[in-house]
Each structure stands twice: as C-alpha cells, then as structure tokens.
Symmetry: C2
Subunit: 332 residues, 2 copies
DNA sequence: CAGGCGAATGTAATCGATTACGATACTGAT
DNA sequence: ATCAGTATCGTAATCGATTACATTCGCCTG
C-alpha cells in the first residue's frame, strides 16, 4: 500500500480513503492518480489486515440443519450469488437440527467475525444467537421465524399447503392425512395451519388420528406413513410437509403395495428433483428457493447499510405443481 | 490477552506461547497458570488478529461445479466434519463448470487467505490455480485429477464403471450404450475406460455409435438418450456416467414409452436419493461420498503440517448397488 | 483584514496476536 | 569458580489497512 502511496505521491491514508472511503473524502484528481498507481503496480488490498481493522470479515454465513437437503442447497445457490454481488464469501454450517449444535456453530461464526448470518433455526433461542446479537452481527431468519424482531425470508407455507390440500379435496378425497414436522419450527406450523384451513373451508373436520408428526427426515416420513397405512381406517390421501419425509412416505406406500393415486393420493411441500420420475408423478409445492436465498443476502446487505432500519419480512408464494399423484384432474 | 497476562503474572508473549506455541516453549506450571486465567476471564483469542499475523485464515475452501449436485453436497458433509475437527470453517464456491469462473473463484479465495483448497477442477489449469500454488496454499484435487503433482482424493471410476457394465452384460445385454461426460474430466474418462474394459473383457467390440458425451447436466443426459433411442439400431442397455445425466436419461426413456428393464436396461454411476423409488429401482454405483470429503480434509491438514511430504492419492472403491433396472439377476 | 469554516491531506495510533531478539537463571562440565 | 549451553520468559517490532487528530490552504463573512 505504501508503494502505491509513493507512486501516487500521497500518503497511505489517502490511498485508503481513495479506495474504500466515501466519495467526498478525496479530490477527484487525487483519486484518479491513486487508482492509476494501483493499476500499474497491481496492488490488491490485504483482506486479512482489513478484517482486523474493521473487526469483521467479508463473509456471510448460512446456518442450516443439513446441507444435504436439496431445499437448502438450492437456497444456498441464490444466497451465494447474492453474497458475491456484495463481495462476500459464504460459509455454510450444519446444525443437524440440534439446538446445542446450532448454538455452538453460531458462537464459532461470531468468533470468526462473519459480517452476517442467515439462520434456519431449530426454534430455540440460544446463547449463540444472543452473542451474535450482542456482537451486532445482522441475523436473517430463513424459512423459520425467530421470536424476536429479526428480518425474515420465507415461503408462504400456509397458502402453499392449503392449495395442495385443496387440490386433493377437489380430486374427491376427504380423509386426508398430514405428515407434519415439529411444531416449534414455524414453517412446519404454517403448513399445518394451511392443511387445517383447507379442510375447514371444505367442511371437513380435522381428524386428530390423521395428523402425525415426523422430524423432517426421511425415516420419520416412512415410519409415520407405515403406521397410518397399517391403522384400522387408513386415509385416502396424505399431504407431507417436506421433501425428505415425502421420500420416506413414498417408500412406505410402495412397500405396502398400494398404488398412487388409486389407493392413495399424495402431495407434498417442497418439490424435488425426482418428483416427475416417481410414478405417477408426485405433486408438490415448489418453493422459490433461489429467490429465497437471494432475498436473504439482500436483507443482510441492507441491514448492514442501515442497522436501525425497521424489521423487514420477505414472504414469497410457493407454486403447486399438479401431478397425477393427486388423482382426478380438477374441473377446469 | 493482556488481561490474561496480567492475571497470570506473565507477559502476552508467554500467553501466546502457552496457547498456541509448541509444548516445549513454556514451563508446565506456567502454562497451567495461563490456562486457568484464560478460563476465569473467559478469554477467546481473536481470530482476525491471528489471521493477520499468520497471514492465513482458518478456513478451507471447497470449489465444485455445482453445489446443487447431490454428489458434491454429500462430499461437503464429510469435508465439513473433517475441517471442523481441525478447527477450520468451510467456504463453498461454485464454478458452473466454467474454467474462467473457476479461475476467478480461486483468485478470490487466495485473496481471502484460505488455508487450503479442495478443487473439483474443470480440467484446465488456470491463473487462479497458479496463484494458489504461488501463495503456498495447499490444493487437493477432488474427484478429478489435475495434471501436476497435487494430492488427490477420488473414487475408482474405472472399476465401478466396469462392474456396472459387467452386470449389464451378465444380465444378457450386449449392445450397451455409454452416456459419458467431457473427456477432459479425469473421472469421466476413467468411467469410460471402465466401460470399454468391461466390454472387451467379454469379447464385445466397442461400437462408437453407442458412445455419446454429455456435459454432466440433466438436459444433456436427456438429449443424448433421446437421440440414441431414436436411432436406427437403439441399444439394449445404457450406462450413464453420472447421476444428473441419469435423471435426464430416465426422463427420455419414460417419454419414449419404453419399459425398464424389458425394453432397455440401465445403470449409472453415482447413486441418488430417489434411485429406489424410480421403478423398477435404478442400479447405481454408490460413491463413498462422506469419506471422500473427510479424506480431502485429512490430506489438507497433513499437507499443512508437512508441506514437503510426497504427493498422496486416496482412491476409494465404489459399490455397485444392483437393482432391477439391470434386468435378470446374475447367476449367484 | 481578522477570524472562522470546510475541504483535502498527512502523521501516527490502532486493531490483537505472533515472534525475533535479548535477558535471566539454572545446569553441568572443566 | 568459571563458562558454555539450555530452558524460560519479557520487550518490542510486526502483520497491513483504517481512522482520530492535526495541519494546511483557500474562501467567505463581518
């Protein structure tokens, strides 16, 4: 940096101001001289030194339960692009949906000096979250609301679920089971709400026996479905609250020898790569994953620019992709 | 840090040595005093300052073509665990399989001061790679070899492919097509080799008309398969060199109305989540993804410990998961 | 014309840990 | 008793960019 300063005939302070200070802090001509010197020498500012001075690294963190879940990887794609546009790298951390792990990861990220965190929380407030707030690191809630006043980006789970369940009803099913997720996770609670709302709107009572909860992983979807199918009065359709459990549900259904949609209709939240290829084609509510991720990055960037701004919430609609697993096509 | 020093009655230099210096550099009793003081005060070393001094951040980078590919996310999982065990975070960067993007990402990572890079290269040496080497940042090749002498971790593609193709032959197929990837990518070339070897070993000539190349993405798998099926003498089986193209191939096959395995047998490299659910169950060579990722982390850690050590190569076997898509079961 | 103000820039302190260099004390050998 | 050698620890420089504070200069006002 001092080489640049010498070459441009200014001090290092001026070089710094020309490169990263506000536009008004340096005379136009001086700035040009500095930029030319930078160009000639091929100077690249040292990020590590800058990080120390600024007390923050140019890194955003994405904290999710499992990077193996295609929903989160798709979100990560959008988030990464958004972060890169703001000249930030992305660290990804898994929590395995375990609150203690989530807290630990957050503490590590705070220590790491990340500039912002996007968090798909397990639902429990933790010491890690507290520390992040105390360190004034912006936190954006992804997919799941956090009680306090955090910026949030999510898909409209209630509406998407209601639409999917509505489609099942329109196809003539009335005994529709829900395979839901933990109620502490707001997106899961929302989807349950949508399920119940759709039933009520069509004058169908919610049957507690048809509502079961998994842990959002494949195995739990399988087990829950198997139990439903083995019960005295099995349902005529199931709505599964996320993609992984849906895969488990499908395994259980095929294992039972039932045919979709004749014996059992199915729809789920969260589209997945193979949904078309699994016969007869599985209906799903597709989330705008890329835009969720990009939106999260955007919220972080804005919050950094104006820390005091009012809390913002981005809620994007999902889109029901109707496929034959629903059963009869709806009347147009 | 000076608080700790004062409390322990030593200098900051001693604190630093006690915490991160070699064991011999400080008297046992002194170290204990320091550690106690650290405990009492709740001191946490500042990573940003340490990074500046050490001229390197405690971060590993994973550079892949597309984090949306489940193979890479599965690898990422193992890599992340391995990195964390060594107290490093993980940055993930996508290249979209574009050499220029790969080079740019690498340059950014070098500037970022990452401590090590795991790279699934597009196959072209780039300025970014040069810079990484010049900066003495260890680079481990993942899945795909890089010409020069880099540590490498990969699955045995030739053997896995030969096994899968061998199974198709054992099931009575002789006209077996290959949907391969770009030859510049070593893992793809290996799989092609395995394909050809299996054919030769069974006295079947390699028919150039049955060998087509995609770009490893789903659409190319679809198009290549559609073209094969529409040809004058369509194959009796296909072996697809990766998971994404396999999904595309399946779409094309179903669209053509053909039945698996009666009309067309299929097997692919890289197992994927839905392979069981897609009828009749799609045979695939499963890679030990988690261990590939963990192995990459391990290679990085060792290379950092001994920069001069001889080049190491970890090659892990894949496992053919036989499913009905192959056709007749092999004679036991 | 004095005094005040703002724009533009320079000087040097600062972020917090690491480490080169030097000082001290203690060991054992001669 | 003297001295080399080693183990242990302290002082202060260092990493490279940012920024508080000081300085200079020009311009405007009363």
């Amino acid at each position: 940096m001092s080489d640049v300063a010498r070459r441009a005939g200014v001090s290092t302070a001026t070089v710094s101001r020309a490169l990263s200070g506000p536009a008004s802090s340096v005379r136009g001509e001086t700035r040009d001289r500095v930029l030319r010197a930078v160009e000639e020498i091929g100077y690249v500012p040292d990020r590590l030194a800058r990080n120390l001075r600024r007390r923050s690294a140019q890194i955003f963190a994405l904290v999710v339960s499992d990077i193996g879940n295609p929903f989160f990887t798709a979100v990560a794609r959008g988030f990464e692009d958004g972060a890169r546009a703001a000249d930030h790298s992305v660290i990804i951390a898994d929590t395995d949906e375990i609150p203690a792990v989530e807290s630990r990861r957050l503490l590590e990220l705070v220590a790491e000096g990340v500039a912002g965190i996007v968090l798909a929380s397990t639902g429990t407030t933790s010491e890690g979250l507290e520390q992040a707030v105390r360190a004034r690191i912006p936190v954006v809630a992804l997919d799941r609301r956090i009680d306090a006043g955090f910026d949030t980006v999510a898909c409209d789970g209630a509406r998407g679920a209601a639409e999917a369940v509505g489609a099942l009803i329109a196809a003539g099913r009335r005994r529709i089971a829900l395979i839901g997720g933990p109620e502490a996770i707001s997106s899961m609670a929302d989807r349950r709400d949508g399920y119940e709302r759709a039933l009520r709107e069509h004058g169908i009572a919610v049957d507690p026996e048809l509502v079961v909860h998994g842990d959002m992983r494949e195995a739990s979807g399988h087990d829950a479905t198997a139990a439903l199918l083995a019960s005295a009065r099995p349902p005529g359709a199931v709505f599964v609250a996320n993609n992984l459990m849906a895969m488990g549900a499908l395994r259980a259904i095929f294992a039972s020898g039932r045919r979709i949609p004749d014996d059992l209709a199915i729809a789920c939240f969260d589209d997945f790569a193979a949904s078309e290829l699994i016969p007869p084609g599985i209906a799903a509510v597709a989330q705008p994953t890329y835009r969720l991720g990009a939106g999260a990055a955007e919220l972080l960037v804005r919050r950094i620019a104006e820390p005091g701004a009012p809390v913002r919430e981005i809620v994007l609609p999902g889109r029901l992709i109707e496929r034959p697993s629903i059963g009869l096509a709806r009347a147009a």
